[in-house]
Amino acid sequence: MPFTIKDYYMNFYYYPLTSKDFTFENIFSSESVSPPCVYQLRTFGTDFFNTIPKFHHLEAIILYAEPPKYDLPSGGAGDHIKFILKIPENVLNPDEIVFISEKMIGYQKTIYLNRTNFELLFFSQKEITICTLKSEATLSTKSYKKYSNNFKIIDEKECQLFDTTVLESLQLNNEWKGVIDFDKKFNFFKGFCYGLLCGLLRSLSKKETELKRSLQDITNSFAEFKNKSANDPKKKYDRSFLIKGKSSKEIDIARKVFSAIDDTQRLFKDNLPGPEFQSSDIEKFLEQKLLNSGFSGDVIKLFIEFKKMEDVILGTDNFAKYKSQYLQSDHKNPILYFEFLREQVKAFAAQLNSTTDWAKASRDKASDSFKKIMSDLSKVADSQAAKPGTQDSVQLEKFDYSIDRNELIIQAPIEGLTAAAFGEYVSIVDIILKNGKLGKGDAPKEDILSLVDLVASLLNPNKSGKVSHLYQYISGALTEYDPSKVQSTAMRNFIAFVFNPDSIERMESYITTKEIPEKWMAYSFWSAFNGFANLSRIFVAPYFETNDSKITDPIDEYFSRFHKKGLLTRIEEIKDLPAIEEAKVENLEVTRKTKIENFYNEFVEGKFKLSAAQFEQIVSFDDPEKMIAELKTRHRIAKKEGVKLIERFRDIVKSPSLFQ
């Protein structure tokens, strides 16, 4: 419960709202509410907020000391719902409160919401249901389930009349720059944090990734089968999978589908063991269903026997119908879905060479059923995802954040990474935090190029980032690029992100296909760039589809340090922390230097008349042709040898080889 008995003497304030313009969704996409004019100014998240005439003011959140009585404007289209935000006074910074009248105040900052500091008051349960369910179809609105205890019902009789005429002439000024600046930085930092947390969970969810990948393989192979058979109906696709021993393209394509289903079933069975399908299960299912409907056991047994006899005499397969029913019933054994899946593929294939309306309808039905089962299996795979734990916030404690410098401050490394790798990662995050996506729509190419330039320049200070191969490829100067030559894990994840800055799902597909390790890095890059307000509900679901306060509260507590009134104090505290971040840049230099030294020690020293310093100078050139020419002219190393050496160098010492 957000407010407890000890809050009894606390003052509360109320902010009247309406569902018009997706206000509910807006609040839960950023977990905050701001003065209305801020939405257009802030350049992230939604750029609109509905204002209720006479009760709102553009330049402040107008808070009432009692729930206000208000009506929604008439004449507008749509079924709009009233609800009221209730917050305790200790959420507000007293220095920012504007006194308007007795029982009315204005607040000119963003109020950040969490499970413990607000309630939403609705006027009926039905309206709660409508608001919450509608929000489920909105991408950036995080799940309300984290806040399921925050929705309450209020009686209209509890609402008070207010004279709000003072608002019409109210003139408020504010220097919004400070508010916008903070909100922006915090949005990207919070995005990074959830990107890291959800990314780490996904990195642990190898099972889920494998299951989903194999489901996609089934979809792909069935699509290929349908497509090839649709375009070439003369071929015998319909019975291809039944022909044993023979091989042809048609048979192979058909068998590919069943092979994909078999492989996935094995995977599911390994991870989610359950009993195999048996035909006697159908009889038990029918028995139970009919018993529940009041039929006696004897009559049921007779019925089942009758149906079996009917199938024999008429050549029907009534039990096939019952099998479908059984497989779709609530048996909770996902292994049985595969049986049903095979049925649908066979049902589709059986009608391939017929052009009757019935055959077309059967194919469509089989195809629809196939998709539905795949969706259900996908949900089963989702359930195998690693679950958040009560200690997850510990990962966040590894970072502090300087709002002033808009940078992370490392407190402790993430396990499994070397100091150099971690330093490289954090340096990239800092660049992204300072260059988050602003405005609507896809990330402009110039912004992505700028990021690549900055990262490349950081990792290779002797050269402009614009000459890197990745930059040249994205800018269109090069038509080909081979990311497989990149060795550094952080760089591989960075490439995954810059190739897919607008869709976390596409990035996920890229990461899975390319088998990129430590994929939490890519998720955190993506989320830092796009910001919390743009994170999809699907991505952050592990932390929002739960109302377990032991999971959500420590994370919210971590964030609240940054937006409580002691913000200035926080910056002072940060200055006292050791300058760990200097190690970040140093580590990157060390990385490259170390690699060159190691290469020299292993492949050059004693084999060529070249000192370490001379070798380092050679490899500082951008162009491999120039390196080879220098080796020949200055150091009398034959061209053939030079080519071999430089190629080996480029293969091994790739970091930062997005910049090859």
Binding site: G45, L133, S140, D368, E446
Partner: protein
């Protein structure tokens, strides 16, 4: 399976789209929207809202989402499932049983004849929501959206902007058919210019396409050609032996490159592309009408101008093909770019 593409992205919506989303489910409207205005997503959202109302009021409501083409039904299948709607309620017009339901939502209403529109009107107990665009009418003898509005006496709302096609591609494509209005309608600035790349042979063009799809892991892409089959292609111009779906399909098969293809231009019942698969789709520009892809490849763009008849065979379909991409557009050629693309200012492509 792509889930996010079926959810409404409020951060990207403008006032016009929000107003449409906010309309009461109990009121009837015709929503006139140009290509790329988001009609299909709005239609799905309307269906979702109906379902929400049913749950909130704890009483079942019946509705039908009626579509004109099988292609569209196939396209939105995964969206229907993701929003937890019943696929049985999404019906192709040819198999609709015309039973009365509380709510009817119709996509591409401009393609239904008057008799069907009467049936739709009579079948809707509480309200109708019709989405359409007269500019995309397939048949000449159908009513325009304005005529439908007057006939049914329902109000109309308009979505005049194209939210799908990036300006960077629209600017490029508008030079092909001299359509200045196209760019004005586009909202999305676009972060990539179209690419025009020359190769030494048509096989190299296809090799590049395969490589690019693998490098970027493009899971939503199409390769668009002027012709379906070798025979059809060669009938027009004998040198067109490779500028067709059949040749590309064979080449990809020879390289073991998995893909889907469509060799017929019509909405034939054997037609079935699966938009949930990650396989690249090979089809004609004509077949791609109404569809959208993250990446579009248009190879073999080096056909010379043969005469005025060429406009219908190449220029118009090329325009359709160019406007199918919402992100990446690649045009490749071997023997010098086709005259249709020759005059495009250099600054508009990479």
């Amino acid at each position: 399976m792509a889930k996010e593409k079926w959810l409404i992205n409020l951060n990207e919506m403008d006032e016009f789209q929000r107003q449409i989303l906010d309309l009461s489910i109990d009121d009837s409207y015709l929503i006139k929207g140009c290509a790329g205005s988001g009609k299909t997503i709005l239609a799905l959202r309307r269906a979702h809202n109906i379902k929400v109302q049913s749950i909130a009021e704890k009483k079942p409501v019946s509705f039908t989402l009626l579509v004109y083409t099988k292609a569209l039904r196939s396209f939105i299948k995964s969206g229907v499932i993701e929003l937890d709607l019943d696929l049985n309620q999404v019906v192709h017009h040819a198999v609709w049983d015309e039973s009365a339901v509380d709510y009817i939502v119709v996509d591409e209403v401009q393609d239904f004849d008057q008799e069907k529109i009467d049936t739709i009107k009579n079948a809707a107990i509480k309200s109708l929501m019709l989405y359409g665009d007269s500019q995309q009418q397939i048949y000449d003898d159908r009513m325009t959206t304005q005529e439908i509005v007057e006939y049914l006496s329902i109000p109309q709302r308009e979505l005049l902007l194209n939210y799908r096609l990036p300006k960077s591609i629209a600017s490029f494509a508008s030079h092909v058919v001299n359509d200045i209005e196209l760019v004005k309608k586009c909202v999305k600035p676009g972060n990539e210019k179209p690419k025009i790349i020359q190769f030494a042979s048509w096989q190299q063009e296809l090799d590049f396409i395969m490589k690019e799809i693998r490098t970027r892991n493009l899971t939503d892409c199409a390769i668009l050609l002027p012709y379906n089959t070798k025979i059809k292609a060669m009938k027009v111009v004998p040198r067109n032996v490779y500028r067709n779906v059949e040749t590309v399909k064979e080449y990809f098969d020879s390289k073991g490159f998995d893909h889907e293809y469509k060799m017929r231009d019509d909405d034939h019942d054997n037609w079935d592309l699966d938009f949930d698969s990650e396989l690249p789709k090979v089809m004609t520009c004509h077949s791609a009408k109404g569809l959208q892809f993250e990446a579009v490849f248009i190879p073999f763009c080096d056909y010379p101008f043969h005469g005025p008849w060429f406009i219908n065979y190449f220029q118009k379909p090329l325009y359709v093909g160019l406007t199918r991409s919402y992100r990446h557009l690649y045009i490749t050629h071997t023997n010098g770019i086709t005259p249709f693309l020759n005059g495009i200012p250099r600054a508009l492509y990479d």
